[in-house]
């Protein structure tokens, strides 16, 4: 299936860009006419993925973060968040709830949030090369939400 629309975003790993990233991606996805709750889920998941790039991938440096978003006619949206940072050694362990290498002020819940707020989460990573997170969310079309045939 071909996307009905797509966009690319590239920005540096400054924490002030966390709100920029979630606002921009959610503004783009607003075309699919999501509910407030669906949009809140997406904003939270984006914030988790982008924060991980800033806090973990580029821990002691500034690097670039790349986001692409594709939306489809059936309401599906695919969001990719990519960094060229330190990478993840053990993905399975990293995705376990409460696992963190981030110290006292981190809960270790970022991946758990992405998994429970989105329909699909895929992680691929290579140590010292970077990490790519693919998030999918199916926005339920309005006519189904309203219970009316189109």
């Amino acid at each position: 299936m071909k996307p009905i629309n797509e966009m690319k975003l590239e920005f540096v790993s400054k924490s002030s860009n966390e709100s920029f990233a979630r606002a921009t991606v959610s503004a783009f996805i607003a075309q699919l006419d999501p509910t407030i709750a669906e949009l809140a889920d997406i904003k939270t998941a984006i914030s988790e993925a982008v924060t991980n790039c800033i806090v973990h991938a580029y821990k002691s440096s500034i690097g670039k973060i790349y986001i692409t978003v594709q939306i489809f006619e059936n309401g599906k949206s695919i969001i990719k968040i990519r960094d060229k940072g330190c990478g993840i050694n053990n993905i399975k362990q990293a995705m376990e709830p409460l696992f963190t290498t981030g110290g006292d002020e981190r809960a270790g819940l970022g991946f758990a949030v992405m998994q429970s707020f989105m329909d699909k989460v895929r992680v691929s990573s290579k140590p010292n090369k970077g990490t790519s997170i693919t998030l999918e969310k199916n926005i339920i079309p309005r006519f189904i939400k309203n219970g009316q045939p189109s």
Partner: protein
Amino acid sequence: MDVKIKLTGNTLTACIEGDIDHHNAKEIRECIDQKIEEESPNLLELDFSKVQFMDSSGIGLIMGRYKLMHILDGKLQVINIPENIKKLIKLAGLASLNIIKE
């Protein structure tokens, strides 16, 4: 982002306004912890009524204050949690700590 703090008897209430993400969490944390140090309250209330957005950085913020108040023999309570943040609070299992006031 803004934090308004007031002391009533032995209760310190911190009203957090705006987004709680990694970018804002540090300033919110420093603001609250400094007042805790000055006032040594028995109860810390985190008032979430004006929180617009929160991600897992907010859970880290709550857990960090929970541990701090525990060390000081005090208690923590999170009050006025908006509907859109309840899902995250539930996922984090904070209800089992008895710090959520409905």
